[in-house]
């Protein structure tokens, strides 16, 4: 039972991690707390839904990730880049405006009812784990999460572009002075961040549901993760996502009365203990 619960925590943690890592990327490079991130998540799910009617889950996934990358690129090109000298609060509210627009667009196209995205055939069944059936699809989420984490860490830590990204995320001007085209760089990074939001949206489709509010539901949890991790830190966000996943899974069993408060309590405790989050510095 406890093993199953830990596994459950891992599943939700992995999902959160994918969403949060996109948020961290965008925050890292543009210093933007992206309130529209939840709606990108939602947009990904809906696009995948629409495309999957034609091309199946895989097709939907690809379509959503590609479309969201394009959206992210435009967001940076026509939004964040033009606002890069503005104070972060202003840009944050711009993303809030975008959130409203995205939600309205989704509602106009797909209406207000909920939809369901079916898991791919191959991942539909269950396997026996610790003596009870466990959905294969959920295990796949953990795998996707681990893959995303590994790729991101590898990319940022060991590649040239990764070095530029880390440089630009602390000091874009100095990084540009070294000859790095920070505009193109952040266009790419925001695209990847948005694509990750989209990916998470698609992945969550089969076990949550598609509704115009699905974005705001997950947004707060991802903020909690990013802030607990220490804004802008991937390692921090990964750890925080896993902790939050466990806290919710185990809290539901052992502290049911406080379950709703646990994420907030966790965040408050961490920030009071370490005001700049789990990882004092950024990766």
């Amino acid at each position: 039972m406890i093993a199953i619960q830990i596994l459950n925590g891992l599943v939700y943690g992995s999902l959160l991690m994918i969403v949060a890592s996109g948020l961290v990327l965008i925050y890292g490079l543009r210093r933007v707390v992206n309130f529209a991130h939840g709606s990108l998540f939602m947009l990904g799910a809906y696009i995948a839904y629409a495309a999957s009617l034609q091309f199946g889950f895989g097709g939907g996934l690809l379509a959503a990730v590609a479309a969201l990358a394009a959206v992210g690129f435009c967001l940076d090109r026509f939004g964040f880049r033009l606002l890069q000298d503005r104070d972060p609060l202003t840009v944050m509210l711009v993303t809030f405006g975008l959130l409203l627009v995205f939600e309205d667009v989704v509602q106009s196209i797909w209406g207000k009812q909920s939809y369901s995205l079916a898991a791919p055939e191959a991942l539909q069944g269950t396997v026996d784990l610790f003596g009870s059936p466990f959905p294969v699809y959920r295990l796949a989420i953990v795998a996707v999460g681990a893959l995303v984490a590994a790729c991101l860490v590898g990319w940022l830590r060991y590649s040239r572009i990764g070095l530029f990204i880390r440089g630009a995320s602390t000091d874009p001007v100095t990084t540009a002075m070294q000859g790095v085209n920070t505009d193109r760089l952040s266009g790419g990074v925001v695209a990847v961040g948005a694509a990750l939001a989209g990916l998470a949206g698609v992945v969550s489709g089969p076990f949550l549901s598609l509704s115009p509010t699905m974005g705001s539901d997950i947004l707060i949890d991802s903020f909690v993760v990013v802030v607990i991790g220490g804004l802008g830190s991937f390692a921090g966000a990964f750890v925080a996502a896993m902790i939050l996943g466990q806290v919710q899974a185990l809290g539901a069993v052992y502290l049911p009365d406080l379950a709703a408060l646990l994420p907030f309590a966790l965040m408050t405790a961490v920030l009071i203990w370490r005001p700049s989050g789990l990882s004092g510095s950024r990766v």
Binding site: M1, I4, Q5, N8, G9, V11, Y12, E103, Q107, G111, K112, Q113, S114, Y115, S116, A118, T126, S132, P133, F134, P135, Y137, R138, P206, F207, L208, S209, L210, S211, P212, T213, M214, D217, I218, D221, Q248, A249, L250, A252, V253, P256, D257, A259, A260
Partner: protein, 371 residues
């Protein structure tokens, strides 16, 4: 001389958490208004509506309602959330308005918060829970039950009422789990439910949480290993949003197209003609709400809220459920209620009525309202 038009202010959830139900119920309301206007108005009065967004919050709902009421659209109808209904109820006197609740279920609307200008046209929670015990007695062989409810007033009330009903029958509740509203991953709860010794699970979750739970319960095979009985569970929008995950789930139902009354038959036929499908429970609730107002106006032959309220009090109304009484002491519309299950009918999965309960059983609930 033309009669004064009926001016209705529709406070609709167009954004926020209740958008889906908001859209449905608005469709039902508009259908009723069009129908009335096509027939030459309500008792010869044209029906005019204004529609505003309550953003699913009492704050915004109150703002919109106050604006409608103060600009003459003072026959109010529409919100989903009970908190909005209660917020409106508090102000009706001040705004000189009347309010007919169509989808809010809180017992307080006809309980401690009742007032002379507020009417409950749909089934309250008490009415839903009143049929649980009789149904269990006749239909449930299970001895041990588990409960999963949202961790707030409605969920807790539902869970407690269900527990009482079970205990009265000499059966027992093994585990009661409360999940915070907004829970997205129900796996931890499902694991506990599966591990419990219960043979059936009573579920009282709100919209979004419910949909997530339904999908995940099917994913983990809970739906097939234990009987699931829902409070506000087997509704079309849930069935549609979960793609087969609700197959076989039991629960309280407030409406189904097959209800055998002349009015319902006509209504369903007209609806099919227009939309090519059956109406769902939210649409009929909206439809019914407007009908209540219009019948009140006709009976009073006035559009003044006080007059309409006086006419509705204790009135017998024609509804799709047949003749129903607007109970004088608390303004609850008393009508039959149903227990059903989700089934495949003609290739389509939808809730189907299994047992009907007469209005007399439904209405046998005390109210602390003193009107």
């Amino acid at each position: 001389q033309a009669k004064e038009p009926v001016r209705i202010g529709i406070v609709n959830s167009q954004s926020g958490g209740f958008t889906a139900q908001g859209e449905d119920s608005l469709r039902g309301m508009q259908f009723a208004v069009d129908e009335a206007n096509a027939a030459g108005g309500a008792a010869g009065r044209p029906v005019e509506v204004q529609i505003g967004d309550d953003e699913s919050t009492p704050e915004a709902g109150r703002r919109v309602a106050e604006k409608f009421a103060r600009s003459g659209y003072n026959l109010l109808v529409g919100p989903i959330a009970s908190s909005i209904s209660l917020a409106l109820g508090q102000n009706l006197q001040r705004w000189d308005a009347l309010y007919v609740s169509t989808l809010s279920k809180s017992d307080r609307i006809t309980g401690d918060a009742c007032n002379a200008r507020m009417f409950q046209a749909n089934h309250s929670d008490a009415m839903d829970l009143a049929i649980v015990q009789p149904w269990l007695k006749e239909n449930a062989k299970e001895k041990r039950f588990a409960i999963l409810a949202n961790d707030y007033v409605w969920g807790r009330d539902s869970a407690e009422s269900f527990t009482k009903a079970v205990q009265k029958l000499g059966k027992e509740v093994d585990v009661t789990l409360y999940a915070p509203t907004g829970t997205k991953d129900f796996a931890p709860y499902i694991a506990q439910l599966k591990n419990s010794g219960a043979e059936a699970v009573w579920v009282a979750l709100v919209g979004r949480d419910l949909i997530a739970f339904a999908k995940q319960a099917a994913e983990f095979g809970l739906t097939t290993s234990k009987r699931i009985i829902g409070h506000a569970y087997i509704m079309n929008f849930v069935v549609k949003a979960t793609e087969g995950a609700t197959d076989g789930v039991w629960g309280v139902m407030n409406y189904a197209p097959e209800i055998d009354t002349p009015k319902n038959k006509a209504y369903v036929a007209a609806w099919r003609k227009k939309f090519g499908r059956d109406p769902n429970e939210n649409e009929v609730a909206g439809y019914n709400g407007i009908q209540v107002i219009l019948q009140g106006v006709a009976k009073a032959d006035s559009v003044k809220p006080t007059a309409v309220a006086a006419a509705l009090k204790g009135a017998t109304l024609e509804t799709v459920w047949g003749q129903a009484t607007m109970r004088a002491e608390d303004h609850q519309l008393v009508k039959p209620n149903y227990f059903g299950r989700v089934k495949r009918v003609g290739g389509e999965l939808r809730p189907v009525i299994e047992t009907a309960f007469d209005a007399s059983i439904v209405a046998a609930t005390p109210s602390n309202c003193k009107l």
